[in-house]
Protein backbone atom coordinates (compact mmCIF):
# COMPACT_ATOMS: atom_id res chain seq x y z
CA UNK A 1 0.00 0.00 0.00
CA UNK A 2 1.31 3.45 -0.78
CA UNK A 3 1.90 5.99 1.95
CA UNK A 4 -0.77 8.32 0.65
CA UNK A 5 -3.48 5.68 1.03
CA UNK A 6 -2.24 4.72 4.49
CA UNK A 7 -2.31 8.38 5.54
CA UNK A 8 -5.79 8.75 4.14
CA UNK A 9 -7.08 5.77 6.12
CA UNK A 10 -5.40 6.94 9.32
CA UNK A 11 -6.93 10.39 8.82
CA UNK A 12 -10.40 8.88 8.37
CA UNK A 13 -9.97 6.96 11.64
CA UNK A 14 -8.74 10.05 13.44
CA UNK A 15 -11.61 12.16 12.07
CA UNK A 16 -14.15 9.52 13.09
CA UNK A 17 -12.96 9.80 16.70
CA UNK A 18 -12.90 13.61 16.64
CA UNK A 19 -16.37 13.71 15.10
CA UNK A 20 -17.55 10.98 17.48
CA UNK A 21 -18.90 8.87 14.67
CA UNK A 22 -18.89 5.22 15.74
CA UNK A 23 -20.16 3.94 12.38
CA UNK A 24 -17.40 5.68 10.45
CA UNK A 25 -14.82 4.45 12.97
CA UNK A 26 -16.01 0.86 12.43
CA UNK A 27 -16.18 1.25 8.65
CA UNK A 28 -12.65 2.62 8.30
CA UNK A 29 -11.20 0.17 10.79
CA UNK A 30 -12.47 -2.57 8.51
CA UNK A 31 -11.08 -0.75 5.47
CA UNK A 32 -7.72 -0.56 7.25
CA UNK A 33 -7.71 -4.32 7.80
CA UNK A 34 -8.95 -5.09 4.28
CA UNK A 35 -6.27 -2.95 2.67
CA UNK A 36 -3.43 -4.21 4.82
CA UNK A 37 -2.81 -1.34 7.25
CA UNK A 38 -1.13 -2.73 10.35
CA UNK A 39 -3.75 -2.94 13.09
CA UNK A 40 -1.49 -1.45 15.76
CA UNK A 41 -0.56 1.39 13.38
CA UNK A 42 -4.28 2.04 12.78
CA UNK A 43 -5.00 2.21 16.51
CA UNK A 44 -2.05 4.35 17.49
CA UNK A 45 -1.74 6.67 14.50
CA UNK A 46 -5.40 6.72 13.54
CA UNK A 47 -7.78 6.35 16.48
CA UNK A 48 -5.43 7.43 19.29
CA UNK A 49 -4.13 10.33 17.21
CA UNK A 50 -7.76 11.47 16.95
CA UNK A 51 -8.06 11.31 20.72
CA UNK A 52 -5.10 13.67 21.00
CA UNK A 53 -6.98 16.21 18.89
CA UNK A 54 -9.99 15.69 21.17
CA UNK A 55 -7.76 16.58 24.13
CA UNK A 56 -6.79 19.84 22.43
CA UNK A 57 -10.44 20.66 21.76
CA UNK A 58 -11.21 20.01 25.41
CA UNK A 59 -8.35 22.31 26.47
CA UNK A 60 -9.76 25.03 24.22
CA UNK A 61 -13.21 24.50 25.76
CA UNK A 62 -14.68 23.57 22.41
CA UNK A 63 -15.42 20.09 23.66
CA UNK A 64 -16.82 19.17 27.08
CA UNK A 65 -17.40 15.86 28.82
CA UNK A 66 -20.37 14.74 26.68
CA UNK A 67 -18.19 15.04 23.57
CA UNK A 68 -15.29 13.25 25.28
CA UNK A 69 -17.52 10.31 26.12
CA UNK A 70 -18.81 10.03 22.57
CA UNK A 71 -15.28 10.29 21.14
CA UNK A 72 -14.23 7.51 23.48
CA UNK A 73 -17.12 5.39 22.19
CA UNK A 74 -15.96 5.93 18.61
CA UNK A 75 -12.42 4.99 19.60
CA UNK A 76 -13.63 1.76 21.23
CA UNK A 77 -15.83 0.97 18.22
CA UNK A 78 -12.78 1.03 15.98
CA UNK A 79 -10.46 -0.60 18.45
CA UNK A 80 -12.78 -3.58 18.96
CA UNK A 81 -12.41 -4.37 15.25
CA UNK A 82 -8.68 -3.74 15.05
CA UNK A 83 -7.37 -5.22 18.26
CA UNK A 84 -7.88 -8.92 17.44
CA UNK A 85 -5.61 -8.40 14.43
CA UNK A 86 -2.62 -6.95 16.19
CA UNK A 87 0.48 -8.96 15.42
CA UNK A 88 2.08 -10.62 18.38
CA UNK A 89 5.14 -8.42 18.22
CA UNK A 90 3.22 -5.21 17.50
CA UNK A 91 1.67 -4.67 20.85
CA UNK A 92 3.17 -6.70 23.60
CA UNK A 93 1.13 -6.64 26.76
CA UNK A 94 2.52 -3.76 28.73
CA UNK A 95 1.36 -5.00 32.08
CA UNK A 96 -1.75 -5.37 34.17
CA UNK A 97 -3.90 -2.89 35.99
CA UNK A 98 -6.68 -3.27 38.55
CA UNK A 99 -9.19 -0.43 38.27
CA UNK A 100 -12.45 0.57 39.97
CA UNK A 101 -14.32 3.23 41.94
CA UNK A 102 -14.16 2.83 45.68
CA UNK A 103 -16.99 1.75 47.95
CA UNK A 104 -19.55 4.47 48.46
CA UNK A 105 -19.08 5.91 44.99
CA UNK A 106 -21.24 4.96 42.06
CA UNK A 107 -19.87 7.47 39.55
CA UNK A 108 -17.50 5.93 37.06
CA UNK A 109 -17.05 8.27 34.10
CA UNK A 110 -13.51 9.24 35.06
CA UNK A 111 -12.66 5.62 35.77
CA UNK A 112 -13.93 4.53 32.36
CA UNK A 113 -11.88 7.17 30.57
CA UNK A 114 -8.73 6.13 32.37
CA UNK A 115 -9.55 2.53 31.55
CA UNK A 116 -9.57 3.55 27.91
CA UNK A 117 -6.03 4.82 28.28
CA UNK A 118 -4.87 1.46 29.57
CA UNK A 119 -6.79 -0.37 26.85
CA UNK A 120 -5.19 1.72 24.13
CA UNK A 121 -1.83 1.34 25.80
CA UNK A 122 -2.07 -2.44 25.59
CA UNK A 123 -2.50 -3.19 29.28
CA UNK A 124 -4.56 -6.08 30.56
CA UNK A 125 -7.31 -4.34 32.51
CA UNK A 126 -9.09 -5.93 35.47
CA UNK A 127 -12.11 -3.67 35.87
CA UNK A 128 -13.79 -4.17 39.24
CA UNK A 129 -16.58 -1.72 38.36
CA UNK A 130 -17.94 0.75 40.89
CA UNK A 131 -18.86 0.85 44.57
CA UNK A 132 -16.07 -1.70 45.09
CA UNK A 133 -15.35 -2.88 48.67
CA UNK A 134 -11.85 -1.80 49.60
CA UNK A 135 -10.51 -5.29 50.24
CA UNK A 136 -11.42 -6.33 46.68
CA UNK A 137 -8.72 -4.03 45.28
CA UNK A 138 -6.18 -5.72 47.48
CA UNK A 139 -7.26 -9.28 46.71
CA UNK A 140 -7.50 -8.61 42.96
CA UNK A 141 -4.02 -7.10 42.91
CA UNK A 142 -2.65 -10.14 44.70
CA UNK A 143 -4.56 -12.57 42.47
CA UNK A 144 -3.41 -10.98 39.23
CA UNK A 145 -0.04 -9.66 40.40
CA UNK A 146 -0.90 -6.38 38.63
CA UNK A 147 1.72 -3.66 38.54
CA UNK A 148 -0.83 -0.83 38.81
CA UNK A 149 -3.91 -0.24 40.93
CA UNK A 150 -6.08 2.69 39.79
CA UNK A 151 -8.85 3.95 42.05
CA UNK A 152 -11.39 6.68 41.55
CA UNK A 153 -13.63 8.56 43.97
CA UNK A 154 -15.85 11.35 42.70
CA UNK A 155 -16.90 12.56 46.10
CA UNK A 156 -14.92 13.75 49.09
CA UNK A 157 -17.06 11.48 51.16
CA UNK A 158 -15.59 8.34 49.62
CA UNK A 159 -12.04 9.50 49.14
CA UNK A 160 -10.80 8.40 52.54
CA UNK A 161 -11.28 4.75 51.60
CA UNK A 162 -8.49 5.04 49.05
CA UNK A 163 -5.91 5.66 51.72
CA UNK A 164 -6.74 2.36 53.39
CA UNK A 165 -6.35 0.46 50.13
CA UNK A 166 -2.98 2.09 49.47
CA UNK A 167 -1.76 1.15 52.92
CA UNK A 168 -2.98 -2.43 52.56
CA UNK A 169 -1.42 -2.89 49.10
CA UNK A 170 1.86 -1.16 49.88
CA UNK A 171 2.22 -3.27 52.97
CA UNK A 172 1.98 -6.45 50.94
CA UNK A 173 3.75 -5.22 47.82
CA UNK A 174 5.52 -1.84 47.94
CA UNK A 175 6.30 -1.92 44.22
CA UNK A 176 2.70 -1.61 43.06
CA UNK A 177 2.07 1.79 41.44
CA UNK A 178 -1.07 3.49 42.71
CA UNK A 179 -3.08 5.95 40.62
CA UNK A 180 -5.88 7.98 42.14
CA UNK A 181 -8.58 9.90 40.37
CA UNK A 182 -11.71 11.89 41.07
CA UNK A 183 -12.99 15.39 41.71
CA UNK A 184 -11.81 15.70 45.32
CA UNK A 185 -8.37 14.22 44.67
CA UNK A 186 -5.69 16.90 44.60
CA UNK A 187 -1.95 16.47 44.37
CA UNK A 188 -1.77 17.11 48.11
CA UNK A 189 -4.23 14.31 48.78
CA UNK A 190 -2.34 11.95 46.48
CA UNK A 191 0.92 12.79 48.24
CA UNK A 192 -0.65 12.46 51.65
CA UNK A 193 -2.09 9.07 50.80
CA UNK A 194 1.20 7.84 49.34
CA UNK A 195 -0.13 7.51 45.78
CA UNK A 196 2.08 7.59 42.70
CA UNK A 197 -0.19 9.57 40.37
CA UNK A 198 -3.50 11.37 40.29
CA UNK A 199 -6.13 13.03 38.08
CA UNK A 200 -8.69 15.35 39.57
CA UNK A 201 -11.66 15.12 37.23
CA UNK A 202 -13.03 13.26 34.26
CA UNK A 203 -11.71 16.05 32.06
CA UNK A 204 -8.38 16.03 33.80
CA UNK A 205 -8.36 12.25 33.56
CA UNK A 206 -8.76 12.39 29.82
CA UNK A 207 -5.99 14.95 29.56
CA UNK A 208 -3.74 12.70 31.58
CA UNK A 209 -4.84 9.71 29.54
CA UNK A 210 -4.14 11.51 26.28
CA UNK A 211 -0.71 12.58 27.49
CA UNK A 212 0.08 8.96 28.25
CA UNK A 213 -1.25 7.86 24.87
CA UNK A 214 0.98 10.51 23.26
CA UNK A 215 3.98 9.18 25.10
CA UNK A 216 3.13 5.65 24.02
CA UNK A 217 2.86 6.82 20.43
CA UNK A 218 6.23 8.56 20.64
CA UNK A 219 7.82 5.47 22.14
CA UNK A 220 6.37 3.35 19.37
CA UNK A 221 7.80 5.66 16.70
CA UNK A 222 11.32 5.32 18.10
Amino acid sequence: MDDARREEILKKLSDAVVEYDEDVAKEWSQVALDEGVDAFDAIMNGLAAGMEIVGDLYDKQEYFVPELLMCADALYAGMNILRPHIKADGMKKKGQVVIGTVQGDVHDIGKNIIKLMFDVGGFTVHDLGRDVPLENFVSEQLRTDSEIVAMSAMMTTTMMGMRKVIDMIKEKNPNVAIMLGGAPVTKDVADLFGADGYAESAGNAVQEAIKMISRLREMHKK
Binding site: Y20, Q61, F64, V65, P66, E67, L69, M70, D73, Q103, G104, D105, V106, H107, I109, N112, D131, M155, T156, T157, T158, M159, M160, G161, K164, A183, P184, T186, D188, V189, L192, S201, A202, G203
Partner: protein
Amino acid sequence: MTPKERIEKLFKKEPIDTMPVFSGQGMVTIQAIKKMGIRFPQVHTSAEYLADSARITAEMFGFDAVIIPYDMCTIPEALGRGVSLYDKSEDILYPTVPYKWEKLEEVTIPDDFLKRGRMPMVDEAFRILKAKQDGKYAIGAWVLGPFTMAGQVIELDLLLKGVKKDRERVLAFLDKMTDVVIKAAQHYQALGADYVSIRDMGTGTDLLSPRMWKDLIQPNLVKIFAALKSPTVNHICGSTNLIIEMMNECGADALSVDHKNDMVESRKKVGNDVLIFGDFEAYSTLVQMETSQVEGVIKTCIDKGADAVWPGCDIWPDAKKESLEAYVATIRKYGKQPSPAVGRI
Protein backbone atom coordinates in the same frame (compact mmCIF):
# COMPACT_ATOMS: atom_id res chain seq x y z
CA MET B 1 -31.06 38.97 66.75
CA THR B 2 -31.69 35.21 66.75
CA PRO B 3 -29.92 32.96 64.26
CA LYS B 4 -33.20 32.52 62.39
CA GLU B 5 -33.88 36.26 62.20
CA ARG B 6 -30.31 36.86 61.01
CA ILE B 7 -30.77 34.46 58.10
CA GLU B 8 -34.24 35.73 57.24
CA LYS B 9 -32.95 39.29 57.05
CA LEU B 10 -29.89 38.26 55.09
CA PHE B 11 -32.10 36.76 52.40
CA LYS B 12 -34.16 39.97 52.34
CA LYS B 13 -30.90 41.97 52.10
CA GLU B 14 -31.87 43.90 55.22
CA PRO B 15 -29.19 45.03 57.72
CA ILE B 16 -28.04 42.35 60.17
CA ASP B 17 -25.78 42.34 63.21
CA THR B 18 -23.24 39.90 61.82
CA MET B 19 -22.80 37.37 59.05
CA PRO B 20 -24.65 34.13 59.83
CA VAL B 21 -22.84 30.79 59.84
CA PHE B 22 -24.87 28.38 57.75
CA SER B 23 -24.96 26.57 54.43
CA GLY B 24 -27.15 24.81 51.91
CA GLN B 25 -25.32 21.51 52.27
CA GLY B 26 -25.01 18.93 55.01
CA MET B 27 -23.30 20.24 58.14
CA VAL B 28 -23.56 17.29 60.50
CA THR B 29 -20.43 16.53 62.52
CA ILE B 30 -19.05 13.37 64.01
CA GLN B 31 -18.67 15.23 67.31
CA ALA B 32 -22.46 15.54 67.54
CA ILE B 33 -22.95 11.94 66.45
CA LYS B 34 -20.53 10.71 69.12
CA LYS B 35 -22.23 12.81 71.74
CA MET B 36 -25.48 11.06 70.84
CA GLY B 37 -23.78 7.68 71.25
CA ILE B 38 -24.69 6.50 67.74
CA ARG B 39 -22.83 5.62 64.50
CA PHE B 40 -22.82 7.66 61.27
CA PRO B 41 -25.02 5.26 59.22
CA GLN B 42 -27.77 5.52 61.83
CA VAL B 43 -28.47 9.21 61.16
CA HIS B 44 -29.91 8.37 57.75
CA THR B 45 -32.65 6.04 58.92
CA SER B 46 -34.10 7.58 62.05
CA ALA B 47 -36.07 10.83 62.16
CA GLU B 48 -34.91 11.51 65.69
CA TYR B 49 -31.25 10.86 64.93
CA LEU B 50 -31.44 12.98 61.79
CA ALA B 51 -33.07 15.93 63.54
CA ASP B 52 -31.06 15.68 66.73
CA SER B 53 -27.68 15.35 65.02
CA ALA B 54 -28.42 18.53 63.04
CA ARG B 55 -29.58 20.42 66.11
CA ILE B 56 -26.76 19.23 68.37
CA THR B 57 -24.18 20.13 65.71
CA ALA B 58 -25.61 23.66 65.52
CA GLU B 59 -25.59 23.95 69.31
CA MET B 60 -22.04 22.62 69.67
CA PHE B 61 -20.48 24.92 67.12
CA GLY B 62 -22.80 27.92 67.14
CA PHE B 63 -24.22 27.57 63.64
CA ASP B 64 -27.23 29.71 62.71
CA ALA B 65 -29.10 26.98 60.86
CA VAL B 66 -29.84 23.30 60.82
CA ILE B 67 -30.12 21.54 57.50
CA ILE B 68 -31.50 18.14 56.58
CA PRO B 69 -31.47 15.55 55.08
CA TYR B 70 -27.79 14.66 54.62
CA ASP B 71 -27.72 12.15 51.80
CA MET B 72 -28.61 12.43 48.12
CA CYS B 73 -30.57 9.21 47.93
CA THR B 74 -33.80 9.98 49.74
CA ILE B 75 -35.60 11.00 46.55
CA PRO B 76 -33.96 8.46 44.18
CA GLU B 77 -34.87 5.78 46.72
CA ALA B 78 -38.47 7.04 46.76
CA LEU B 79 -38.45 6.78 42.96
CA GLY B 80 -37.71 3.07 43.36
CA ARG B 81 -33.95 3.05 42.83
CA GLY B 82 -33.09 1.55 46.22
CA VAL B 83 -30.41 2.69 48.63
CA SER B 84 -27.07 1.35 49.85
CA LEU B 85 -26.70 2.48 53.45
CA TYR B 86 -23.32 0.85 54.25
CA ASP B 87 -24.68 0.30 57.73
CA LYS B 88 -21.96 -2.21 58.59
CA SER B 89 -19.13 0.07 57.57
CA GLU B 90 -16.97 1.64 60.21
CA ASP B 91 -16.05 4.42 57.76
CA ILE B 92 -18.07 7.51 57.04
CA LEU B 93 -19.86 6.54 53.87
CA TYR B 94 -22.91 8.41 52.62
CA PRO B 95 -25.70 6.30 51.11
CA THR B 96 -25.63 5.69 47.36
CA VAL B 97 -28.14 4.61 44.71
CA PRO B 98 -27.59 0.97 43.71
CA TYR B 99 -30.08 0.51 40.88
CA LYS B 100 -30.14 3.08 38.14
CA TRP B 101 -32.54 2.98 35.22
CA GLU B 102 -30.59 1.69 32.26
CA LYS B 103 -32.81 3.14 29.55
CA LEU B 104 -34.82 6.34 29.32
CA GLU B 105 -37.98 4.44 28.39
CA GLU B 106 -37.85 2.57 31.71
CA VAL B 107 -38.28 5.76 33.73
CA THR B 108 -41.57 6.00 35.57
CA ILE B 109 -42.19 8.44 38.40
CA PRO B 110 -44.59 7.20 41.10
CA ASP B 111 -47.24 9.84 41.84
CA ASP B 112 -46.87 9.21 45.55
CA PHE B 113 -43.06 9.25 45.73
CA LEU B 114 -43.21 11.76 48.60
CA LYS B 115 -44.71 8.98 50.71
CA ARG B 116 -42.19 6.29 49.73
CA GLY B 117 -38.85 5.12 51.07
CA ARG B 118 -37.38 7.33 53.74
CA MET B 119 -39.38 10.42 52.71
CA PRO B 120 -41.85 10.08 55.65
CA MET B 121 -38.83 9.77 57.97
CA VAL B 122 -37.44 13.04 56.61
CA ASP B 123 -40.87 14.66 57.09
CA GLU B 124 -40.84 13.56 60.71
CA ALA B 125 -37.32 14.96 61.16
CA PHE B 126 -38.51 18.37 59.97
CA ARG B 127 -41.38 18.19 62.48
CA ILE B 128 -38.98 17.27 65.29
CA LEU B 129 -36.65 20.13 64.39
CA LYS B 130 -39.57 22.53 64.38
CA ALA B 131 -40.70 21.28 67.77
CA LYS B 132 -37.32 21.02 69.51
CA GLN B 133 -35.40 24.02 68.30
CA ASP B 134 -38.23 26.41 69.14
CA GLY B 135 -37.67 28.87 66.29
CA LYS B 136 -34.12 29.63 67.30
CA TYR B 137 -32.32 28.25 64.25
CA ALA B 138 -33.32 28.65 60.64
CA ILE B 139 -34.24 25.30 59.13
CA GLY B 140 -32.69 24.63 55.76
CA ALA B 141 -33.49 22.01 53.15
CA TRP B 142 -31.91 21.11 49.85
CA VAL B 143 -32.91 19.19 46.77
CA LEU B 144 -30.68 18.12 43.91
CA GLY B 145 -31.33 20.01 40.70
CA PRO B 146 -32.92 18.16 37.78
CA PHE B 147 -29.74 17.29 35.90
CA THR B 148 -27.91 16.07 38.98
CA MET B 149 -30.99 14.19 40.16
CA ALA B 150 -31.16 12.61 36.71
CA GLY B 151 -27.56 11.47 37.14
CA GLN B 152 -28.55 9.74 40.37
CA VAL B 153 -31.30 7.67 38.79
CA ILE B 154 -29.95 6.96 35.31
CA GLU B 155 -26.47 6.13 34.06
CA LEU B 156 -24.65 9.44 33.84
CA ASP B 157 -22.88 8.64 30.60
CA LEU B 158 -26.23 7.75 29.01
CA LEU B 159 -27.49 11.16 30.07
CA LEU B 160 -24.40 13.07 28.95
CA LYS B 161 -24.21 11.34 25.60
CA GLY B 162 -27.97 11.49 25.23
CA VAL B 163 -27.83 15.25 25.43
CA LYS B 164 -26.16 15.12 22.02
CA LYS B 165 -27.52 11.92 20.55
CA ASP B 166 -31.02 11.58 21.91
CA ARG B 167 -31.95 15.15 22.65
CA GLU B 168 -35.75 15.08 22.60
CA ARG B 169 -36.05 12.14 24.95
CA VAL B 170 -33.42 13.53 27.29
CA LEU B 171 -35.32 16.82 27.41
CA ALA B 172 -38.55 15.00 28.22
CA PHE B 173 -36.76 13.06 30.97
CA LEU B 174 -35.31 16.27 32.44
CA ASP B 175 -38.85 17.71 32.44
CA LYS B 176 -39.92 14.79 34.62
CA MET B 177 -36.96 15.35 36.94
CA THR B 178 -37.85 19.05 37.16
CA ASP B 179 -41.35 18.18 38.31
CA VAL B 180 -39.88 15.83 40.94
CA VAL B 181 -37.58 18.60 42.22
CA ILE B 182 -40.44 21.10 42.41
CA LYS B 183 -42.70 18.68 44.29
CA ALA B 184 -39.99 17.78 46.79
CA ALA B 185 -38.87 21.37 47.39
CA GLN B 186 -42.44 22.61 47.77
CA HIS B 187 -43.04 19.76 50.18
CA TYR B 188 -40.06 20.79 52.33
CA GLN B 189 -41.28 24.38 52.29
CA ALA B 190 -44.71 23.20 53.44
CA LEU B 191 -43.00 21.32 56.27
CA GLY B 192 -41.44 24.54 57.45
CA ALA B 193 -38.06 24.86 55.74
CA ASP B 194 -36.97 28.49 56.09
CA TYR B 195 -34.79 28.33 52.99
CA VAL B 196 -34.25 25.81 50.21
CA SER B 197 -31.11 25.29 48.18
CA ILE B 198 -31.34 23.66 44.77
CA ARG B 199 -28.05 21.90 44.12
CA ASP B 200 -27.57 21.18 40.44
CA MET B 201 -23.97 20.57 41.22
CA GLY B 202 -23.13 18.34 38.32
CA THR B 203 -23.67 21.09 35.78
CA GLY B 204 -20.60 23.29 36.07
CA THR B 205 -18.52 23.92 33.00
CA ASP B 206 -16.14 21.12 33.99
CA LEU B 207 -18.83 18.90 32.53
CA LEU B 208 -21.13 20.92 30.30
CA SER B 209 -20.51 23.79 27.92
CA PRO B 210 -22.08 27.18 28.72
CA ARG B 211 -24.20 26.80 25.59
CA MET B 212 -25.48 23.44 26.81
CA TRP B 213 -26.11 24.95 30.24
CA LYS B 214 -28.27 27.69 28.74
CA ASP B 215 -30.12 25.21 26.60
CA LEU B 216 -30.65 22.31 29.02
CA ILE B 217 -30.15 23.49 32.57
CA GLN B 218 -31.31 27.08 32.81
CA PRO B 219 -34.90 26.63 31.60
CA ASN B 220 -35.56 23.95 34.22
CA LEU B 221 -34.01 25.99 37.03
CA VAL B 222 -36.11 29.00 35.99
CA LYS B 223 -39.20 26.81 36.19
CA ILE B 224 -38.20 25.52 39.64
CA PHE B 225 -37.46 28.89 41.22
CA ALA B 226 -40.69 30.31 39.79
CA ALA B 227 -42.60 27.51 41.52
CA LEU B 228 -40.97 28.02 44.94
CA LYS B 229 -41.51 30.74 47.46
CA SER B 230 -38.56 32.73 48.77
CA PRO B 231 -35.95 32.30 49.99
CA THR B 232 -34.15 29.98 47.63
CA VAL B 233 -30.53 29.38 46.66
CA ASN B 234 -29.12 28.32 43.30
CA HIS B 235 -26.03 26.22 44.09
CA ILE B 236 -23.65 24.82 41.50
CA CYS B 237 -20.18 23.57 42.22
CA GLY B 238 -17.14 23.25 40.03
CA SER B 239 -16.37 25.84 37.38
CA THR B 240 -19.13 28.46 37.27
CA ASN B 241 -17.56 31.73 36.16
CA LEU B 242 -18.72 31.22 32.59
CA ILE B 243 -22.33 30.66 33.68
CA ILE B 244 -22.67 32.92 36.72
CA GLU B 245 -24.80 35.48 34.86
CA MET B 246 -27.10 32.76 33.60
CA MET B 247 -27.30 31.35 37.13
CA ASN B 248 -28.38 34.80 38.25
CA GLU B 249 -31.15 34.88 35.67
CA CYS B 250 -32.77 31.74 37.12
CA GLY B 251 -34.73 33.61 39.78
CA ALA B 252 -33.26 32.36 43.05
CA ASP B 253 -32.72 34.75 45.95
CA ALA B 254 -29.03 33.85 46.25
CA LEU B 255 -26.25 32.16 44.31
CA SER B 256 -23.89 29.64 45.85
CA VAL B 257 -20.59 28.65 44.26
CA ASP B 258 -17.54 26.68 45.30
CA HIS B 259 -13.82 27.40 45.41
CA LYS B 260 -13.39 26.93 41.67
CA ASN B 261 -15.37 30.13 41.15
CA ASP B 262 -13.44 33.39 41.08
CA MET B 263 -15.81 35.40 43.24
CA VAL B 264 -14.23 38.75 42.44
CA GLU B 265 -14.97 38.11 38.77
CA SER B 266 -18.48 36.93 39.62
CA ARG B 267 -19.14 40.12 41.55
CA LYS B 268 -18.06 42.19 38.58
CA LYS B 269 -20.48 40.28 36.40
CA VAL B 270 -23.60 40.23 38.59
CA GLY B 271 -23.05 43.35 40.71
CA ASN B 272 -23.17 44.08 44.40
CA ASP B 273 -26.93 43.72 44.81
CA VAL B 274 -26.94 39.95 44.29
CA LEU B 275 -26.45 37.61 47.25
CA ILE B 276 -23.45 35.37 46.61
CA PHE B 277 -22.51 32.61 49.04
CA GLY B 278 -19.22 30.73 48.96
CA ASP B 279 -16.58 29.66 48.40
CA PHE B 280 -14.21 27.61 50.51
CA GLU B 281 -13.24 24.00 49.97
CA ALA B 282 -14.66 22.28 53.01
CA TYR B 283 -12.53 19.15 53.02
CA SER B 284 -9.10 20.70 52.58
CA THR B 285 -9.88 23.60 54.91
CA LEU B 286 -11.51 21.80 57.81
CA VAL B 287 -9.91 18.35 57.60
CA GLN B 288 -6.48 18.66 56.04
CA MET B 289 -5.19 22.11 56.90
CA GLU B 290 -3.68 23.10 60.19
CA THR B 291 -6.29 24.87 62.30
CA SER B 292 -4.09 27.97 62.29
CA GLN B 293 -4.66 28.28 58.53
CA VAL B 294 -8.47 28.23 58.69
CA GLU B 295 -8.89 31.89 59.61
CA GLY B 296 -7.00 32.97 56.48
CA VAL B 297 -9.20 30.86 54.19
CA ILE B 298 -12.45 32.08 55.71
CA LYS B 299 -11.37 35.72 55.85
CA THR B 300 -10.42 35.54 52.17
CA CYS B 301 -13.99 34.52 51.30
CA ILE B 302 -15.29 37.58 53.15
CA ASP B 303 -12.68 39.85 51.56
CA LYS B 304 -13.61 38.59 48.10
CA GLY B 305 -17.22 39.61 48.64
CA ALA B 306 -19.20 36.67 49.97
CA ASP B 307 -22.46 37.69 51.62
CA ALA B 308 -22.23 34.46 53.58
CA VAL B 309 -19.23 32.14 53.79
CA TRP B 310 -20.49 28.81 52.53
CA PRO B 311 -18.56 25.60 52.01
CA GLY B 312 -18.65 24.42 48.42
CA CYS B 313 -19.92 21.03 49.47
CA ASP B 314 -21.06 19.17 52.59
CA ILE B 315 -18.87 19.69 55.60
CA TRP B 316 -17.02 16.41 55.99
CA PRO B 317 -18.43 14.98 59.24
CA ASP B 318 -14.99 14.16 60.58
CA ALA B 319 -13.79 17.78 60.33
CA LYS B 320 -11.49 18.82 63.17
CA LYS B 321 -13.35 20.28 66.12
CA GLU B 322 -10.82 23.10 66.50
CA SER B 323 -11.00 23.92 62.79
CA LEU B 324 -14.80 24.07 62.88
CA GLU B 325 -14.52 26.41 65.84
CA ALA B 326 -12.01 28.57 63.96
CA TYR B 327 -14.35 28.69 60.93
CA VAL B 328 -17.22 29.97 63.10
CA ALA B 329 -15.00 32.36 65.08
CA THR B 330 -13.57 33.91 61.90
CA ILE B 331 -17.01 34.59 60.46
CA ARG B 332 -18.06 36.16 63.75
CA LYS B 333 -14.87 38.23 63.89
CA TYR B 334 -14.85 39.60 60.34
CA GLY B 335 -18.56 39.30 59.55
CA LYS B 336 -19.48 42.42 61.47
CA GLN B 337 -18.60 44.51 58.43
CA PRO B 338 -21.22 44.90 55.70
CA SER B 339 -20.98 42.54 52.74
CA PRO B 340 -21.63 43.71 49.17
CA ALA B 341 -25.38 43.01 49.22
CA VAL B 342 -26.18 43.23 52.94
CA GLY B 343 -25.62 46.08 55.37
CA ARG B 344 -25.07 45.93 59.12
CA ILE B 345 -27.10 47.37 61.96
